[in-house]
Amino acid sequence: MKYKDYYQVLGVERDADIDAIKKAYRKLAHKYHPDVSKDPAGEEKFKEIADAYQTLKDPEKRAAYDQLGRHRPGQDFQPPPDWGKQFGDAPFSSDDIDLSELFAGLSSGRRHAGRQGGTHKMPGQDYEVTAHISLDDACRGTTVDLNLTVPEYDEHGRLHRVERSFKARIPKGATDGQRLRLRGKGGKGLNGGPDGDLYLNIALHPHALYRVSGHDLYLDLPLTPWEAALGAVVEVPTLGGSVHLKVPPGTHAGQKLRLARRGLPKPSAEEGDLFAIVQIVVPTVLSERERALFKELSDGSTFNPRGHFEQEMRNETRTS
């Protein structure tokens, strides 16, 4: 088992009183709590802080922790031989669990799974994992393989790490950040308590063409200046295959053309929309002929897209 210096984690002295420990914890918890912190390392950091606090705030657990002696953080160590008898009504096998589980076992073991035969029903722990899926998977529904390593009590009330793997069917309708619940797939309940649940957090792989917002998709639609001016019918790729999109004459850059119900399917019967966002693209290299035609257009056209500049400036001077 790897040693963690809980005092160092909280940034307090080893003889700190409970108030100092509480204060240090609160300050760090506000900074790193994963529900309020945007720090990507916050979750891991917070878990360490919470583990340290759970142990050090409880005088019994703190005494047990102090009895483990001092080691370097990360150093492999074994609790002293009589440690288990002294503190653990909960038997443990220290080879395959970590320090926080050892201390969690100390309390839950005493209350619920101890040798005295606890009978208190205790629900299993809930877990949360992220499932990365593609847009196509979200559209059609998919099955993902989940492999979890979770702490679990055996029939002797002993804490072990066990590998659990199963397939989870994700129905169609997923989008980024959506949650699913898999009932009873979390930690095992104790003494007849219900098993915990597993929560799946959906994360979509980025797509080369589409950007996702809710169940709507956005696609850049490059048009030539003449397609935009004259109107055109262009082929647009959608998740369900290519479709012909009518671009009206006089289409301008940034305009959103909506392809209704061509977005991601929702869990209910509806679908999101696909929006094609117009970009007007000019050739970077012109042929002789193209140059001549553009020149002719330039000479013959009276169109001035900046006509409003002068008018607006005049209005500004008048009102100021």
Partner: protein, 108 residues
């Protein structure tokens, strides 16, 4: 051994859960959940109904509420305020995601 298959249920407004289920999911007590309803940060599908039910989309937020209460030792009023602010951040993040999706990936 063939791995077992589990069916997942969407946590969205269409899937409703009872007050008792929300107690179990969030770790908050029934009294605490009722207080959050009073503060207006949690709304039952039919507030006048005899048995309250809640849309599944609230489950994740209430789990966060349970964690915040436990980890930061928040009083109900502070918890309600935190949830209101977290809700606003989520809304703004969704708006930002929506606007980002509309930005061209490459300039023409």
């Amino acid at each position: 051994m063939k791995p077992e298959q589990a069916d997942a249920v969407w946590l969205d407004a269409q899937h409703e859960f009872s007050l008792a289920e929300l107690v179990r999911f969030s770790g908050l007590s029934e009294a605490e959940l009722r207080e959050l309803v009073d503060y207006g940060v949690l709304t039952p599908t039919d507030p006048q109904g005899a048995e309250w039910t809640f849309g599944g989309d609230i489950v994740v937020t209430m789990q966060a509420a349970g964690r915040l209460r436990d980890d930061l030792e928040l009083e109900p009023q502070a918890l309600a305020l935190a949830l209101t602010l977290i809700g606003r951040i989520r809304e703004l993040e969704a708006q930002l995601r929506g606007l980002r999706a509309q930005l061209p990936r490459r300039s023409p």
